[in-house]
Amino acid sequence: MSSILYWLDPWEPSPTVVIAVLIAAVLFARGAKRAHVSLARHVSFWFGLTALYVALHTRLDYFFEHEFFMHRLQHLVLHHLGPFFIALSYPGAALRAGIPFTWRQRWLKPALNTAAARILFKVIFNPVVAVVLFVGLIYFWLLSPIHFKAMLDWRLYRIMNWSMVIDGLLFWWLVLDSRPAPPARLAPGRRILIVIAAIPPQIMLGAYIFFTPHELYPIYSICGRAFTWISPMRDQQIGGLLLWIPGSMMSVIGALIAMRHWLRLSTRQRLVQQRARAELVTA
């Protein structure tokens, strides 16, 4: 028990993380009762949210700061795994229902209807912007000089981690939407397209890091590594592999799920059309 508490002790306490996770948890718990969320979706949401919390706010952060491959593992959770499972649980309706009715009426609706909000959604949910952001953020934070500063400066470090979480949620929410479009932002085919478009750049960067024969990220050698029994080059290679294989695997799984949604939606559409035709004939 005490060892669990030891690991749960945040390495760098951040009220922002606690408040954000708590708000999401309370809204979902309140709203799930009214929004009829299935058990599978419950499990998916709580797993995703817990994964994000563990990756952001525990003693593991020491290892994320001081070992490159552990850092890649953290980002795999923050950008892929956590947001993936949260999006898979499709929590929008539950979260909305979790907000007290008067607040929804007075604040949420007017805020979402402002011109600024509409333009913002139009831009960030544009399929091309979504792919460029998803891949661009991975590349940006892995540029050698940027990575150096992000790992040294605690403010940049937090911006980096939050940018990964927020972008991960946006991207997977677009991809894993199971509804027809509209009301979904993207047509079912485009969802598959954007998730597949994000695969090659991740493989390329992962392979580049894996095959580079010199240290790309000296910050870990300068500040000291958490696992002294792993050589700097081996650390870098494992980090590259983590981006290369599990990173792109998540996209493949995402594509398969989007494909299933598409097939289901097109079957349903065909049924609706057949029924309409049959009604015409009998009439």
């Binding site: 020491y62 700061e65 500063k149 300068i222």
Partner: protein
Amino acid sequence: MSSWFSFQPKGWFAAVLATLATLFTALILSAGLAACSRPDTTPWKLTDVSGHLPDLDFKLTDDTGKPVTGQSFQGQTTLVYFGYTHCPDVCPETMARLMQVMQQLGPDAKNTRIVFITVDPARDTAAALHDYVRAFDAQHAVGLTGTDGAIESIAKRYRVAYQMEKRDPSGAYDVTHSSAVYIFDSHGHARLLATESDSIDTITHDLRRVIDSTDS
């Protein structure tokens, strides 16, 4: 499903441009963040960390047993190094190098201090630190120790990794730790990072520049 290929060319092209522009601006901004904090535009030979690490601040005990804080070093340029007295090779080597830097600095070394912070407070008592540090440079070097928590918090502050390795049968153990030297100016602002691969001449050169630029 005829609609899913129908990108409007103008719309998505503009969107790509906008996103790339945003990323590019972020890149320029972060580069600018590093650039604008130094008045002299020639690049440093050591790693410039101005503006990215917090000011010198801690509550520890020095090797004579007196409590010290970051404020105690106000007006002095400090070279902060994390190590421990049982350290087999890296620490003595680094201390010897810093000693040579002090010699090269000559009169400029008057207001410069080598601050040796132990990462092994269990074994490094004030007296042990005193003997160890003063053997290298009695004039400029000072050893600091403190509680486990105090040491951990300053190491965390400067992103220094350290951990106790397994004990051998006699009970002795190594502590692996960062070998970086953190250079703070006389106002306590973090300025440079020196590593094992930086030569004594390079450290002296940049250190003198920090001393000169802060005094004026």
